[in-house]
Amino acid sequence: METALVLSTIARALAFSTPLLWAALGEIVAERSGVVNLGVEGMMILGALTGFIVAQSSGDPWLGLVAAAATGAAAALLHAFFAVILRANQYVSGLALTIFGLGLSGLIGRGWVGRPLRNAMEYVSLPFLVDIPVVGPVLFDHQYALTWWGLIVAVALWFVLQHTRIGLIVRTVGENPAAADAAGVPVLRVRIAAVVFGGVMAGIAGGFLSLAYRPSWGQGMTNGLGWIALAMAIFALWDPLRAIFAALLFGAFFTLSFSLQDRFPPQLLTMMPYLFTILALTLTSLRKGDRSFGAPEALGEPYARGER
C-alpha cells in the first residue's frame, strides 16, 4: 500500500511539475544572465492559447507546441525590449507582461472556450523501463513525452551552463556585466537571447497545459503556475539540476495535498513550496560568500556601459 502511494506520488509529481520545470529552466537561464522576468505567467498563458488555437485548427499538437514556443519568445522579446534595451525596471516590466498576457489571452480566447482539443498529445510508454516489475507500469507508462524531455533538457542546460563557453558567457554577463563587456562580450545581446530563451521555455510550459495535461482552453488556465515556477527557479538556486529536484518536491507536495487529504490538512502541504522558497532565500543570503549558492551578482540590474 505504502509502496503504491510512493510510486503514484512520484508519477503524479512528474506529470504535474512538467510545466513548472520547463518554465523554471527558462527563468533560470534568463536570471543567470542577470534579467528577472516576472512575466512567466503571462508568457505561459499566451503560449497555452496560441498552442491550443494552432493545434485545434491544424489537428497537430506538435505544431501547436511550436506556436506556443514562438509566442513565448515573442512575449519575452517585449520584456527584453523594455528591461534590457530601454533599461526599464525589470520587475515592473515583467509584472506588466503577466497582466498583459492574462488579459489579452482572455480576450482572444473567447471563441475557443468550451471545446476540448480534438487531437491531444498522447501518453508515451518508455520501452524496457515499462517492463520493470511494479515500478515500470506506474512510472513509465502513463506520462507525456514532454515530461521526459524536460528532464533531459534540464541536464543539458546544466552541462551548457557549467561546462561550455556559452554557459560561461551567460554566467559572466549575469555576475559581472562590466567585466564581460570589457572582455568583448556583447552583454545586451546575450541578455536578450537569454530572456527570449526563457520565453520559449515558458511558452512550451503553457503549451503542455493546453495540449497535453488538460487539453482544452480556459481563461486563466495557468492559474498561478507561472508564479510557482518563479519560486522554483529561486529554490533551485539557479541550477538546472537542482530544478529537477525542486520540481519533484513541489510536485509531490501538490499531489499529496490530495491523496493525503484525509490525513493532513491540505493547506499545510500546498504552502510548503513557498515555505521552502523562503528558506532557500534565507540560505542564500546567509551564505553570501559561497558562489555556488548565491543569486547572480547583477540580477535585476539593467546594464549600461560606463556606469558603476
Binding site: A4, S8, R12, A15, F16, I99, L102, G103, G106, L107, G109, R110, V113, G114, R115, P116, L209, Y213, R214, P215, S216, G218, Q219, G220, M221, N223, L225, F254, T255, F258, S259, Q261, D262, P265, P266, Q267
Partner: protein, 383 residues
C-alpha cells in the same frame, strides 16, 4: 484596471442594443468572464433567453469579471446608465448590493445565491441537490469498485448538499457505495482538479462527479475510461463516450419570472423583503442531464436497465426506471419525494431529521452534516 476596462468595453458593446421608447433596463453583474464556460456563462445564457423572451420590452446589459469587493462602483455606473433592475449573480456581491440598495431605493436588486434581503433586494438560487441525488442513483449502479469520486470546490452548505444528495442516491442503489471526496478550496483550479481526480482514481474511484468550474474531471476520468457527470453547462463534448449525465441550470426561468412580475407591478422596490427564489426541478430551474432533453446518455441506458433492485417503494425496478420515476416525483414537488426527507442520520450516527420530517428550505440552506457513505475531511461537521 484590466477588469475595469474590459467591463466598460463590454458594457458599451452590450448596451448598443436597440434604442426603444422606454424599455425596462435589466443589468447583470458577473463575477467571472462570460467565457468561463461555467457559472457566469450559464447566467449569461439566462440573460440572452430573458432578452429574447421579452423582446423590445426590456433592454439587458452586463458587466463581467467584476471583483467581489469592488462591485459598488459598477452598480453606481449601471444606475447612472439607467438600470431599473440589477442582478448580482455571486454570493460575494452581497455586501455591495445591500449597501447600494440603500443608496438607490428605487432600483430593484437581485442577489444570486444570496442570504439576506431588503425592501428592494430579493434573493434567488437554482439548486442542484435533487439532480445530484439522481446522478448518485446512476453512479451507484455503474460503479464496480463501489467507490465513487467527488471533486469539490469548498466545504460550504451548497456543495455539501450536492455531495450528500449524490451519496444518498448512490446508497439507495448500492448500500456498499462510498463517496470519496477531495476538496480544491477553489472554484477554479484546473491543475488541482486534475490531481484530485488522479488521487481519487488511485484510491479506487471508477465513477466521478464534481462541483467546481472546469471540465477537468471529465477529461481526466475519460483517460481511464471512467464515467463522469457534467456540471452546470453542457460538457458532453469534452468526452462524448464517458459523460453519463449531469446537472443543467436554467437561470432564465428565474429571470423571466422576476422580470415578468416587475413589469406587471407585482414586484416593486418596496415589497421584496420576503421574496426568495430557491428553485428546483419542480420549477424547471434545473434539469437532469449533460445536455438539454437527454437525462441519461443513450449509451448507458442498457447498463442501468441491467441493474434491477428490490426497492422498498417501487418493488422490483431497474435503475434507469428508478431514475426517471424519482425525477418525475421531484418534478411534481418536494412533498412527493425529497432525498433529505426524514428519517435521516448523518455519518456519525446522529439523527438529523426525524421520521416524517421534510426539511425546510432554511434547513437545506444551512446544511452542514455528511450522510453515511461520504468519506473524507468535512469542515464544520456537527459533532
Amino acid at each position: 484596471m484590466r477588469t475595469i476596462l474590459l467591463a466598460l468595453l463590454s458594457l458599451l458593446v452590450a448596451s448598443s442594443a436597440t434604442a426603444q421608447d422606454d424599455p425596462l433596463k435589466v443589468a447583470f453583474i458577473y463575477v467571472g468572464p462570460v467565457g468561463d464556460y461555467g457559472f457566469s456563462y450559464a447566467h449569461d445564457l439566462g440573460r440572452q433567453a430573458l432578452q429574447e423572451h421579452f423582446g423590445d420590452q426590456i433592454e439587458t446589459v452586463y458587466v463581467e469579471s467584476v471583483p467581489e469587493p469592488e462591485v459598488e462602483p459598477f452598480i453606481d455606473q449601471l444606475v447612472a446608465d439607467g438600470a431599473d433592475v440589477i442582478f448580482g449573480t455571486s454570493f460575494g456581491f452581497g455586501d455591495g448590493i445591500l449597501a447600494a440598495a440603500q443608496r438607490y431605493p428605487d432600483v430593484i436588486f437581485g442577489w444570486g445565491t444570496g442570504i439576506a434581503r431588503a425592501p428592494n433586494v430579493l434573493t434567488y438560487m437554482a439548486d442542484f441537490y435533487q439532480v445530484y441525488y439522481l446522478n448518485g442513483l446512476i453512479a451507484g449502479a455503474l460503479s464496480t469498485s463501489d467507490t465513487l469520486g467527488y471533486v469539490a470546490a469548498f466545504p460550504i452548505p451548497e456543495v455539501k448538499r450536492h455531495i450528500d444528495g449524490f451519496a444518498l442516491g448512490a446508497r439507495e442503489v448500492n448500500p456498499d457505495a462510498e463517496v470519496q471526496v477531495r476538496w480544491l478550496y477553489s472554484w477554479f483550479d484546473p491543475a488541482g482538479a486534475k490531481e484530485a481526480t488522479e488521487a481519487l482514481m488511485a484510491a479506487g474511484a471508477d465513477v466521478l462527479a464534481f462541483t467546481e468550474d472546469t471540465p477537468t474531471v471529465i477529461q481526466t476520468a475519460a483517460e481511464r475510461g471512467h464515467p463522469s457527470f457534467s456540471h452546470y453547462a453542457s460538457m458532453v463534448e469534452f468526452s462524448p463516450e464517458t459523460v453519463v449525465s449531469g446537472q443543467l441550470v436554467h437561470w432564465d426561468t428565474i429571470y423571466i419570472d422576476i422580470v415578468e412580475k416587475v413589469l406587471d407591478g407585482t414586484y416593486t422596490s418596496t415589497n421584496l423583503e420576503d421574496v426568495d427564489y430557491f428553485w428546483l426541478l419542480e420549477h424547471g430551474a434545473v434539469e437532469l442531464g449533460a445536455e438539454p432533453g437527454v437525462p441519461v446518455a443513450p449509451a448507458f441506458i442498457d447498463d442501468l436497465e441491467a441493474v434491477v433492485l428490490d426497492h422498498p417503494e417501487f418493488g422490483e425496478i431497474d435503475v434507469y426506471d428508478l431514475v426517471l420515476r424519482r425525477n418525475a416525483q421531484m418534478t411534481e414537488g418536494r412533498e412527493v419525494f425529497d432525498p433529505f426527507a426524514g428519517p435521516l442520520v448523518d455519518r456519525n450516527g446522529n439523527e438529523v431529521y426525524a421520521e416524517g420530517y421534510l426539511p425546510t428550505i432554511d434547513d437545506l440552506v444551512g446544511l452542514e452534516f455528511a450522510v453515511p457513505g461520504v468519506v473524507g475531511p468535512w469542515d464544520n461537521e456537527p459533532e
